[in-house]
Symmetry: C2
Amino acid sequence: MIRSHLKAALIQASFSDDRDENWHKLKPLLEQAAARGNQLVVLPELHNGAYFCQHEDNREFTRAEAIPGPTTEFLSTLAARLRLVIIGSVFERRAAGLYHNTAIVLDSNGNLAGSYRKMHIPDDPGYYEKYYFTPGDTGFQPVQTSLGKIGVLVCWDQWFPEAARLMALAGAECLVYPTAIGWDPADDENEQQRQLDSWVITQRAHAISNGLPLLAANRHGHESGPSSNTNGIDFWGNSFICGPQGEILSQAGVNEDCLLETEINIDQCEKVRQTWPFLRDRRIDAYSGLTQRFLEDIAAGITNGEKTTNGEKND
Amino acid sequence: MIRSHLKAALIQASFSDDRDENWHKLKPLLEQAAARGNQLVVLPELHNGAYFCQHEDNREFTRAEAIPGPTTEFLSTLAARLRLVIIGSVFERRAAGLYHNTAIVLDSNGNLAGSYRKMHIPDDPGYYEKYYFTPGDTGFQPVQTSLGKIGVLVCWDQWFPEAARLMALAGAECLVYPTAIGWDPADDENEQQRQLDSWVITQRAHAISNGLPLLAANRHGHESGPSSNTNGIDFWGNSFICGPQGEILSQAGVNEDCLLETEINIDQCEKVRQTWPFLRDRRIDAYSGLTQRFLEDIAAGITNGEKTTNGEKND
């Protein structure tokens, strides 16, 4: 179990396409985090370079690396020296032709405590991730660290309440989301605001539904598209930390490199779950449909459902 | 399918403990809703009287009635005369010793289109619902009406993303939540604000996750507790309607009887689901744990899980 209070932080930053330059930016922020007494630091998704998924290009696979590998080593050394649990992000080469978008967890002794391969992979204009990343096959398992069990999820996962719930049921004591999300500059201001609000709200709701604190670390800054056909992405920053009632504890602006920190009262999380006992009242006898793609057509007898190939119908 | 635009409304009101007085209040508001061109109106939970679940008292069961019964008849007559789809709420007597907290759906020809028996039942100080209401056994099935499929859920259901998701998978075209929720006057202002924010956020998140508009109709006003041991409940109003990006379209204040109305662009809902294709990317191969009570102890071999009594472990 995590101790009664946890000093947790995240780093929001813009990133260039030079790995060493990005590491040079992250290192003093991690040192500052440790100097200020933080125990856990979350980095944004794919912090080693530009968000390369704005196009589909075979050459981008040269960015991939093994775990352990250079990024694991870089963060491990810092974790051990600074006595920090660090959550980083790697474009993982698992085998030739098999790559993942993977979060790694370095324990405060420098050991690789575990990793999480992004389960939900987006694919929409400007975010061509299905080309690069094989969907994770490890399920939703929190990573055991010296601070407790960390429910590590990545970016697109944040739109799926199923992921947060499964992490909570598996014993996660907080949820963290390394992220790279932004606006299409062509969208109008109202649409941009709706998208940002949705992103914040859906994650605050995971905190509420599961009685868990949550940290979402995003990048910021404009990154040009690889061709003149695209507008590029305005990564929207707004990284935040919220408590187990979804209450915002700390939030970054749109455009700033920063260390965002908070002290999480872990005992308070249990009190919140006692006040709002959602885990007590889940109707697990009536949730089997959640493992189906769609139920309307199954009910109508048009399809059998992906799990019921022997002809039995789902309830 | 619901037509391309739907004029939908909800009624927020305080209620006395006199059924006829409450009906006398609701009737002109329903007439006003119809006169203003609305097609669908949602009423708050248990609108026939006081929120009687503040204590456990055998005499309260005399409030229960059959479906169809007096409330069905009252709303059916109005629905047919006003050409409205009305969603009402009944303390249902299903059999001696078997009672439910049930939402009824009257179609615009006055027919009872269907009902929904509240699946998740709360029980905490001031909300002793487990004493009165048997958990629903009909699952999460939207009700087919002349306007389309309505995903009817009730109050405590709003804290469970599973319920909203299952309604969406079963083809619901909007989500509605008749509700009775409020503050404990003994809680301080910050806690009260966190609770209200949580209530709004968790429902907006259901709209976002599922790309569906949502209507939450609450009561307002102070209702004294039945004994001097309790502070009573300050029902917090704040009924609202949001669109499929969780964007607030209309919201009531804390203390007002009102008709809240909006025009929902149903075509826009499909566009939102195309922009954010969450249903496409659900990892149904990895969600089986959602039908378990808890997974941490199962993984540790301490329990077998409620569904795996033959000794096999869940993944």
